[in-house]
Symmetry: C2
Subunit: 172 residues, 2 copies
């Protein structure tokens, strides 16, 4: 989770409630704890997904790569109230292992999440999830992720540099 | 704030309390609201900076570029209890405009922050700040930022792609 989500990529959040599924594009999230694996996320109450996630207490946080740039933009600019997003954007809903929300097969990684703490949901639309299962594609090791910089533009992930030798072991 | 912090870069957090200053490296943060500009951040209680920020209710969130990679790693692997970090890492403390914590002159941008909500500080070491002033260098337009991927490695920010024409105006 840390390796893929701490660098701040755009995610696709899939959810399900009473037979309905949806996908939203999410740019604001942060790792909050490593053990248990907690992730804090902004899911605005204006999103159709908000109610599905609030009611089910579950979602899957999927990691798209640049291969899905058009889908990321399209999903972020349509509403699940009017559009069945898996069908509209040609994505495959796959059964998750620990939650009822579906994974998105075309994404590089999928983190199955259960609501851990809703203390800030009303005030800030801020959900704290526990990541309960992770599926990650074995290749490529460093997928090209999208990082939103506002105004319709994305920064694409660049080269990897290591400074491992300069870290204290307990800081790795 | 959104343009620089939403993509998930490593930040340097500077703080001051009763004549003492400190700097810490921070990788976990998220934009929480645009108006007012709210930012949620993990500042572990094990950090020397925690007490300075808790007591003063202020900090500056500075944006380093790859020019400061060694400083970012060094600051993250030393403790302010033993080291005066501005001096040790050759950084310049500059007077901020709205808070007592100093800016770091060598960084690309500095966001002066005041504690907005401490509801999750005890449970998760999660601070919600309001950004009250921003100083951003005019050039370069897209600085090379560092994004931590765990295990001593960083992803460096890559190329910028725009999909502005495909956004609904209210989503920009």
């Amino acid at each position: 989770m840390r390796r893929y989500l701490e660098p701040g990529p755009i995610a696709l959040v899939s959810s399900a409630w009473r037979g309905e599924t949806n996908i939203m594009t999410m740019g604001c999230h942060t790792v909050m704890e490593f053990t248990p694996a907690l992730l804090g996320c902004m899911i605005s109450a204006g999103n159709h997904s908000f109610e599905l996630i609030r009611n089910s207490g579950e979602c899957v946080i999927n990691l798209p790569t640049t291969a899905l740039t058009d889908e990321v933009v399209g999903i972020g600019n349509t509403t699940g109230g009017a559009v069945e997003k898996f069908e509209r954007f040609g994505l495959t809903a796959e059964k998750a292992r620990a939650v009822k929300a579906p994974l998105i097969r075309e994404c590089h990684a999928a983190f199955e999440c259960r609501l851990h703490d809703d203390a800030l949901v009303e005030r800030y639309n801020f959900f704290i999830f526990e990541m309960v299962k992770a599926e990650v594609a074995p290749q490529p090791k460093h997928p090209e992720t999208l990082h939103y910089t506002g105004d319709g533009a994305f920064m694409v992930s660049g080269k990897i540099i290591s400074r491992r030798a300069r870290f204290r072991p307990e800081m790795l």
